[in-house]
């Protein structure tokens, strides 16, 4: 069991609420005294993931496990899945529609950015079933060189 286990439903029909879960995790990590660099890395990666779930998958679930030496984030959705994960990881590659770009997202930077800010990331996706993104941040590993 982790020190703190958090579960959030990310609503798929309300773009304005995307980021609520990440904001809450950020607030909790800050309060627990995690170093600012780690707090920021978790917040950005999870926020990008939340936005992705809202844009592409009709929402989903975020599960966060907080321990002194690691923060694990699982983002699980039942959306269309990612046909080619390697392609989706390329900076600038996006399937987001124009209306999403008008909202300031969909530049194809989400997944690469999540990888950049976390220490570990894996994507399990099945077309037609959904996607699970697992990310881990180890506080203390500096953002240096990212």
């Amino acid at each position: 069991m982790s020190m703190l286990h958090l579960t959030y439903q990310v609503p798929g029909d309300d773009f304005t609420r995307a980021g609520e879960a990440s904001g809450d995790v950020k607030h909790k990590l800050k309060k627990l005294g995690y170093e600012p660099d780690a707090v920021r890395r978790v917040a950005i990666a999870m926020y990008e993931g939340e936005i992705n779930m809202v844009i592409h998958a009709g929402g989903g679930e975020a599960v966060v496990d907080i321990d002194p030496d690691r923060v694990d984030i699982l983002l699980q959705d039942h959306g269309p899945g990612i046909a080619d994960v390697d392609q989706a990881m390329q900076a600038g590659w996006s399937t987001a529609p124009d209306n999403v770009r008008a909202l300031g997202f969909g530049a194809g930077m989400g997944l690469p950015n999540m990888k950049k800010y976390t220490d570990e990331m894996t994507i399990d996706s099945v077309v037609g079933e959904g996607t699970a993104v697992r990310m881990t941040v180890f506080p203390g590993r500096k953002e240096e060189g990212r």
């Binding site: 990008e48 997202f105 530049a107």
Partner: protein, 116 residues
Amino acid sequence: MKVKEIVDILKCQVLNEGNMEEEVKTACGSDMMSDVLAFVKDQSVLLTGLMNPQVVRTAEMMDMHCIVFVRGKNIDPTVVALARQKEITVLASPYRMFTACGLLYSNGLRGGCEIK
């Protein structure tokens, strides 16, 4: 530069007053929040023409303390309310993006991403 100086330089209306004495050194200007999340590092001011709650969320995740909405956009009260909750200063400037960035730069604010 202090946040209150930005108010004067950009002829801003203050929509949410945070710490106006705060010293800021770098800023970024973008309507693409994706790019802000990908490229911004330690900038503390965000200039944007985009008006939705995700601008505030983005600033929150990036530890930015001041948002400047450029070109006198119609302000969405829900955006200001969220910023108030997150203790982020919100300013509205009548200048357009290029001029707003140029005025701040010429007054000493930098981008924080100088090319070597």
